[in-house]
Amino acid sequence: MELEAICSEHNYLRIKKKFPTVWCSGCGIGSIMGAIIRSVHELKINKNNVALVSGIGCSSRMPIYMDFNTLHTTHGRALPFATGIKMVRPDMKVIVVSGDGDGLAIGGNHFIHACRRNIDITLVIINNYIYGMTGGQVSPTTPLGSYAHTAPYGCIDPPFDAVKVASGAGASYVARASNYHIVQAAKYIKKAIGHKGFSMVEVMSNCPTLFGRLNGMRDPVDQLKWMKANAVTIKNWEKLGEEERVGKFPIGEFVTNMSRPEYTQVYEEMSRKAREEAQNGQS
C-alpha cells in the first residue's frame, strides 16, 4: 500500500503487475531505476514516447517493471535493437540499461559502434563488477585481485574502462558516478537523456549478495562506503600519480560534445539530398 501511494505520484511503475522485483534486498539497481524515472519526469517526456531496452542480467530486468514501451532482449544485444527502433522512429526517446557483463563483454562490439555512429540513444551501464544473475562470476570490470566464483584465487584480467572506451569511440556525452553519489548520478542521467547524440553514463552499483559478499563487503553500506572512499573527482584524478590511482576511479563528466552530428539527423539529411538529386535527374 505504501508503495502504491509513492508510485501514484509518478505512475511510471507497473506495480500491479510485476512487483516485487527480482532484485536482492540491498541491491543498488533500484536507486538507478529511480534516477531514470525522475529524469524522464523532470524532462517532461511523454511515457508513450519512451522505449526502454535492455539485454540480460540483473539490471536488464528493469524494463519489465517500468511503464514505457519496454523491450527485454538477448544477452548483449540491447543496443542494436535500440538502434533499429531509433532508425524507424527518430522522434522516440530510446534508453538502454545494461550491466557490465551485458554491455561490455558480450555486447562490447555493439557498444563501440553505437558510440561511433553517435546515434541518439542513452546507455546507462550499471556496473556491479560481477555477473549477478548467473551467480557471481568474474566480469570485464572486476578489479584485479578481487574474488568471484570463476576467480577463486583473485581476478587476473585487467578491468575494462567503459568511460575511456566510450570517449575514444566517439560518444558525445560520457559520465560516471556511483550509487553512493546517487544525486550526481541522477543529474548525469538526466543530462544524458536530454542530450542529442549517443550518451553513456556508468553508475557503479552495490551488489551485496555477490560482489560484496565475496570481497569482504557483505553489508550494502560497506560497499557504498567503499565507493565513497575510492571515487575521485576528475580534477583530483589529474593530480594523482600512477600508483596513487590504483583501486580508485574518477567520477564526473568526461565528454560533453554538442557539436558532433547525430546519426539519424545525418541520415535524414542524406536521404533528403538523395531524393532531390533523383528528382533533378528525372526532370
Binding site: N48, F68, T74, T83, V88, R89, D91, H110, Y267, A278
Partner: protein
Amino acid sequence: MAKKKIERGTPAFMQGNEACVDAAIVAGCRFFAGYPITPSTEIAEGCSEKLPLIGGAFIQMEDEIGSIAAIIGGSLAGAKSMTATSGPGFSLMSENLGFAYMTEVPIVIVNVMRGGPSTGLPTRLSQSDVMQARFGTHGDYTAIVITPSSVQEIYDLTIHAFNCAERFHTPVILLLDEMLAHMREKVFISAIEDIEIMPRSYPKVPPEFFNPYEITPNMVSDSVPFGEGYRFNVTGLIHDEEGFPTSKPDEVVAKLHKLRKKIHLGRKEIMRWDEEYMDDAKYAIVSFGTAARAASSAVQKARSKGIKVGLIKLKTLWPFPGKRINQIADQVRGILVAELNMGQMIREVDRYVMGKCRVQGALRYDGNPLEPEEVFEKLLVLRATKRGK
C-alpha cells in the same frame, strides 16, 4: 492472400537479388539492416540505394547479430523490416531469430545459400541450409521457409514472405542460392494495385484492454508498434498474454502451443507448390529452388521418352505439404528427391511417404548445379530398383 495469383504485368529483366529488393519495397519494406556477405550483397546494396529515396531507413550494422536485432527493433517500431545474409551470417543470426519467434515480431530474413559448413564455398552453389532454416535456433517453434526457383518466383514469393510475416507475426525465411541470386531473367511485374499486400493489424481495443499476446481462435494476436500509447512489454522469456515473464506450467504450454498452432492453422494460406504432369504419373520428382529447374527439364526428357513421371516443385518447404506427399506415395511407385546437399529434404519426404513407395535422392554437393541429365539418370535408377529396395 495465398490463393490470389499475381497477374502478369510489365516485363522487366533483372537479377535475382535485385528482384528481391524491388519486391520487398513493393511489399512495404521500409527498413533494412545488414552486414556484407557473399553472395547476398546486392540485396544490401539495392536497399541502401532505394530505401532513402522512399522515406525508408537503411543501416549497415557491425555484424549479423546486430543486423537481425536492428530489424526486430525496427519492426517493433512500426516498419516492415528485412535483412539478407548467407550461411555464416545466418548462423550468427540464430539467437535473435529465436527471439523473433518468441516475441512474435514480423521480419523477413533472406539467406542466399552457399556451401558449408563454416566459410565453406562462398561463391558456389548449395542448398545445404534447409534444415538449419527449419531448426536452426534452440527451442520448440515452427518456421515458415520459402524457396523460389526463378527470378519471377523470387519477386512473387518475396511479397508472399512479407505477407506471411505480417499475417502470422513471425519471422519468415526466404532461401535463395548463389545461382538464383545472380541469374538474370525476365520478370513480369504487376501494377501495384493488383498485388495483395498484408498491412499491419492494429488493436481494436483501447490500451487498457490490450494484450499483445492474447490467445485468439487463430492464435494470432493483434499487434501495435511502439509509441502508439499501448506501452506493452516484449521479452524473450516465456511470457503470458500481457507479455510478462512467467514460468507457470499452464502458461508455458499455452505460449508454446500458440507459436506452433498459429502456423499450423494458417498453413493453407502459407503453403505453395506447383505440380507438373502428376495426373497419370507413375514416378514423381520432388524438388525446390535451383535444383527444381534441372528436375523440370529431366521430367520433360523422361516424358518425351514415354516415362510417366511428374514434378512436385516446393515453393514453401515449411509448412511442409506432407498430406499431399502422402497421397502421391499411394499413386506412384517411387519418388526421387533432387536437392543440392547430402540429403536433407529427402528425410521430410520419407517421413510422409511412410514406406508406401521407394524414395531415392538425386543429390549434388560439389558447388555445381545438378544437370538435367544427372536427374534423368537417377530417375532411371529409381525405375530399375526392385520393390522393397
